[in-house]
Symmetry: C2
């Protein structure tokens, strides 16, 4: 009898997701592991009906359905060297009608590789991507295996906004004839919006919306629809920027950081005509995904920024008209955060590369 109870209890415990705690300024948070077994989980995106998409950088796209992880077929072949691979996944607002999802990845090209954006439909059984097509490829190719970016969001006006790293080729970020080191804006079908800032400029790529970026790996909209990016800077120069049409964010002309060799960057920290960051981290935290909270579970966090740190193993919370870091959410499970995302129910999810797992944060009194 006693033995039977123990067996029953053990079985029950084995199927209940493990819950841990994480202390925060809003009280204790419950942290639940929702999926594991990933190599480098890179992005989290939410589908209707509690289904969740997760990319693994090696090239796999997973769906979580009823607490089970399944691999989706039909994903693109990726250029998997260095920081490359399958990167972001984004679910547009009309998914229920369109079944479309968007993926960013590093793509092998004739003379190297380039960051690409693709769209595909998710089959009705959620098992495969169909009608896959490339919407954009960065040009020209680069032979480096670093600084691909990339995140993509659906802006308030329905356009697609996507970040592109400078591939470690610094001066590319100031060269408008190259896509590298820019944030681009496309129509849903991959065409160029007529009101992009460099349309009609024969010296510029027409997809470019802003430039002078190093390696932006986080992108989010605030409650007013403004677009913010977070980028890996040089040593001591990781930046959050409000992304403005046509603006130059200064890399490598200005930076609050220094080259990893210790040498000074460009012309200093500021220059007329070049954008200042809204916030920078010194020392660098290696920022990854970013989310701006809009949910109901923590009303006092509405409008606050949550950014993952790859280097210091925490989630940074920032707020204020003059943006500043207010809190570092950390626990043994927050190793090498790759993405932070808000679920439709207002819970906060994150991907830990160290754990190879996805976690969900919710209030203790939920």
């Amino acid at each position: 009898m006693t033995k039977l109870i123990w067996v029953l209890m053990f079985s029950l415990l084995a199927t209940i997701p493990q819950a841990e705690e994480l202390k925060s300024s809003q009280g204790t948070l419950v942290m639940t592991k929702v999926a594991d077994g990933f190599d480098t989980p890179w992005a989290i995106a939410f589908l209707p009906d509690d289904n969740v998409l997760i990319t693994d950088r090696g090239g796999s796209l997973y769906i979580l359905r009823q607490h089970q992880k399944h691999r989706i077929k039909g994903t693109p072949r990726v250029f998997g060297q260095g920081q490359g691979g399958l990167l972001d996944v984004m679910v547009p607002r009309d998914f229920i009608q369109s079944r479309e999802i968007f993926l960013t990845f590093s793509k092998r090209q004739n003379r190297g590789s380039g960051t690409a954006l693709a769209v595909a439909e998710l089959s009705l059984d959620f098992k495969r991507l169909i009608r896959f097509r490339i919407l954009f490829e960065a040009a020209p190719s680069s032979t480096s295996s670093r600084h691909f970016g990339s995140r993509v969001i659906e802006a308030a006006d329905g356009s697609l906004v996507m970040t592109l790293g400078e591939r470690g080729e610094r001066d590319s970020a100031q060269d408008l004839s190259l896509h590298q080191g820019s944030i681009i804006r496309l129509n849903r079908d991959g065409s160029v919006p007529r009101d992009n800032p460099f349309v009609g400029d024969p010296t510029a790529q027409s997809q470019i919306w802003s430039y002078g970026h190093r390696n932006p790996q986080g992108l989010a909209q605030d409650l007013h629809g403004a677009i913010w990016a977070v980028e890996h800077g040089a040593k001591g120069g990781d930046e959050i920027n409000l992304i403005r049409k046509g603006a130059n964010y200064g890399w490598p002309v200005i930076s609050y950081g220094r080259h990893y060799s210790g040498s000074k960057i460009g012309e200093g920290t500021a220059k007329p005509g070049l954008q200042q960051p809204a916030w920078y981290w010194n020392p660098s935290i290696a920022p990854s995904g970013m989310m701006i909270y809009s949910g109901k579970l923590w009303p006092q966090w509405r409008g606050h920024f949550f950014v993952g740190s790859l280097k210091f193993d925490y989630i940074s919370r920032l707020s204020g008209r003059a943006l500043s870091e207010k809190e570092r959410l950390t626990s043994p499970q927050t190793g090498r955060i790759r993405d932070v995302a808000e679920a439709p129910d207002g819970s906060i999810w994150f991907a830990s590369e160290t754990e190879g797992a996805i976690y969900r944060l919710s209030p203790a009194n939920e």
Copy 2:
């Protein structure tokens, strides 16, 4: 006979406008005095059919019709101390239908004065303003007699954008609960556009579009509809800025200038979250009105900036993706330029306070 010819020639010469020359990078310009007898001509605005409006800061609004200057009745009583008075005049795109014109001026208030915006209709005989009404008054009042701004333009979307100086009370420029030291945006009827950046913020005036300005006295739209302002900075810190929604231009926290006492300003020349200027002048030129050229008479100047200098008696021409001063247009007639404007025919007009006159520039081969 000979005497008669001389008399005829003399009469003829007396009625022909005097033409002088001004050297430029686009060849010799013909400079014609089109009106004189002003005290402090402050703004020039063009009506259809070659009629021109000119404000004189003391409080008079003039119209030039068939080379004759007439005073228009029905202008507002102005607060005429210091830098105050009747300031800008603007003709909206629908003038032919609406007969409306807009005026900015310093207005006496209960406890001092404030910069105001008014609209009125110009009577069909062009002799008086009718249905005059105030659309906006800066709050709270200030007892200073300095830094009123002000220019007003009709933005591409039909809203009204207007500059306001900080009245010499520096910290006002960072205080969103005060209008001083900001650029505001209004609907045509004076109401607040719902998409203004601080709508719903109880700590801010809802008209504010951008802030941290010192004394912006020039405002212009470029060929893409973007809005630029030029402002009087501290010593060595006059700035041209691309005006972005909700942005903070830094006065008096940052500046490339120094206080006129020689002491350092605020925290230096740059700070995260604060906008850098697109261009600054050191030494200061005391910039007044600004025009961005869109005409056909000098195709190579399309998109270039023309800014009047009160202090150094020239018109500055600036251009480039990284904006810089390319040329200084100067002559004995360019003393204390108060405004620069483009006429419908593409000629460039300017107001000289030293001469108390308005001049027209045109190509020598026109």
